[in-house]
């Protein structure tokens, strides 16, 4: 695969997180656009590429938003792939810039959270979900993921205390990230273990809180970013694979296994050399699958791995092995803002690698791995993607 040289990501924006909001998806997408234009010091007319991800735009599409926002673009994309939308948008936009199809691409994910909108999204998520998953208890994503979690715990002897390691360290990170919706609350092991049950082994703090919010970043040439004096991040390698291991009767691995070795080879960086890892944490078991499939530990060893690993951003935990993980608190502590959740790991990585993080800055963060997962079409997440990112020296 051709590399991504000459292209950078810049101007990360995360805004508007709220449990409920009177605003629609277009408000969040447009507000991110406004803030990234301001942050980059460019004009709206400079943006000639536009990529949008959202679940709640309804009949409006990306093209409707160009008219709403007065954008004239020569490159347009709508990537409605939930938890991988950030990495997908990044990959597509980087190629567009590399090939000269666009100069500056705005990649944005955003969703509203109107009263009872989550119920509607869950009830009509996909045909297979409507026909063959939702009628069985109408638990939304909690249903299939409680079954995946129960199977993982049984097969690999994982305990709730192992999942707690991920949730507790993420909450610590969120306590230092002002944007996190649950960042003002501390979480202890007994809070975690005594939380009310939701579905099978899943209890309250294993589940993300659906919310409204917007996330986004700009993709442009390295030269343009230098002219604009913008701190930027380059893509060392990135890949994706969807519907891999379809014959596994119940999911305990994802498509990352298909490309992760190539990804590390192309990046010339291994898992032991990354300064942080951002996984898609819709449930802690899914972060564990990613740690295994991305090569941080072997299959089934994630419970042991998280037990000895300190995943706090500042390495202040007791674990001897250090790996800052979901340094803004992830969705488990920030909230899951629909398709914006697929951007959360990317924007957080950009802040970390450009030294723009505030209280939750990972010291000397140079290289980071971000991973995406998503779209429970029926019984499992179908999409996977991963990207190795590196800060550009200034």
């Amino acid at each position: 695969m051709k590399d991504y040289s000459g292209v950078v990501l810049t101007a990360p924006i995360s805004l508007g997180y709220a449990r409920q909001s009177p605003h629609g998806a277009a408000w969040f997408v447009g507000s991110v656009l406004r803030e990234m234009i301001r942050a980059a010091g460019i004009n709206k007319v400079d943006i000639d590429g536009f990529s949008v991800s959202s679940f709640s735009l309804g009949v409006d599409s990306a093209v409707a938003l160009t008219q709403h926002f007065g954008l004239c673009v020569r490159w347009l994309e709508q990537a409605n792939v939930g938890g991988v939308s950030g990495i997908l948008a990044m990959r597509r936009a980087a190629r567009a810039v590399q090939c000269g199809e666009a100069e500056i691409v705005a990649c944005i994910g955003g969703d509203g959270a109107a009263h009872r909108s989550f119920e509607h999204t869950a009830a009509h998520f996909s045909n297979w979900s409507t026909d063959a998953a939702f009628p069985y208890g109408a638990a939304g994503p909690n249903g299939p993921f409680s079954l995946i979690t129960a199977h993982y715990m049984e097969r690999y002897q994982a305990q709730r205390e192992d999942f707690a390691r991920i949730c507790l360290d993420q909450r610590y990170n969120a306590n230092h990230f002002p944007g996190a919706l649950l960042g003002h609350k501390k979480l202890s092991l007994s809070d975690y273990l005594n939380a009310r049950p939701i579905a099978g082994p899943l209890h309250l703090f294993d589940c993300v809180m659906p919310c409204a919010g917007g996330e986004g970043f700009l993709v442009m040439s390295e030269e343009r970013a230098r002219q604009l004096k913008l701190p930027a991040v380059k893509i060392l390698a990135a890949d994706e694979c969807h519907n891999a291991h379809a014959d596994d009767p119940i999911q305990d691995r994802g498509g990352w296994t298909r490309y992760i070795h190539d990804l590390y080879n192309s990046a010339a960086v291994g898992p032991e050399e990354v300064d942080f890892l951002q996984t898609y944490d819709d449930y802690p078991v899914i972060s564990m699958l990613q740690m295994e499939d991305l090569g941080f530990c072997s299959k089934g060893n994630a419970p042991e791995f998280v037990g000895r690993t300190d995943m706090r951003f500042d390495q202040s935990g007791p674990g001897m092995h250090k790996l800052p993980h979901n340094t803004s608190g992830g969705q488990l502590s920030c909230g899951q803002a629909g398709a914006a959740a697929g951007f959360l790991g990317v924007t957080e990585s950009l802040r970390q690698l450009t030294g723009q993080s505030q209280k939750n800055q990972v010291p000397n963060a140079r290289v980071g791995l971000v991973s995406g997962y998503g779209m429970v079409n029926y019984d499992r997440g179908v999409c996977t993607a991963a990207a190795m990112l590196q800060g550009v020296d200034r």
Binding site: A123, T130, D131, G137, A139
Partner: protein, 181 residues
């Protein structure tokens, strides 16, 4: 009553939680409705591809193996293996909210011996992963067909026996509001 109060009353009445009777989710895709229609006569009917013999679930318009378009609903063996189970304590749907207020609602993932993996209502609580189970279809209180998993020893020979199992977990009746409107 002024407009504001009228609107507020209307909004209140549109809340599922205030309805006298709540039913299971009845929305289905076109393929899902065909699945319901095909399953009314027998214990379990799944799509069989007449080109390659692939048996598939959830229902779709084309064969997921060979992309053939001649799919026929045929009687399928009910036997399978329980892969995972879960007791639901929370639901987004009023019917299940009312049922769960009495007891957690059990669901399971089952691999049918015929091939497909299905999610089903689980009848009973004494199950372990790996147990042999049987899966059959039945209409629920929304007149949509759903799948139920029961122990391998349960007798599901006749429609009446299957109806009795469905009635025992209350799936054929709407969940009623406890304290009136």
């Amino acid at each position: 009553m002024n407009i504001k109060d009228k609107m507020r009353a209307r909004l209140k009445l549109s809340r599922p939680s205030l309805r006298a009777e709540a039913r299971p989710p009845g929305q289905r895709s076109v393929c899902g409705s065909q699945f319901s229609a095909a399953n009314l006569p027998g214990a379990l009917q799944l799509q069989h591809c007449t080109d390659c013999g692939h048996i598939q679930y959830p229902p779709a318009e084309l064969c997921g193996a060979c992309l053939g378009h001649t799919l026929i609903y045929r009687n399928t063996a009910c036997e399978g293996t329980l892969l995972a189970q879960s007791q639901l304590h929370h639901s987004l749907w009023e019917y299940f909210k009312r049922r769960i207020s009495e007891a957690p609602w059990p669901v399971a993932t089952v691999r049918l011996n015929a091939g497909p993996v299905v999610i089903a209502h689980l009848v009973g609580r004494d199950f372990n992963a790996g147990d042999a189970v049987q899966v059959f279809s039945h209409s629920d209180a929304s007149r949509s067909v759903v799948l139920l998993a029961v122990s391998a020893s349960a007798n599901i020979e006749t429609p009446q026996l299957r109806q009795d199992i469905v009635a025992a977990i209350g799936l054929d009746q709407p969940a009623e509001r406890q304290h009136g409107i």
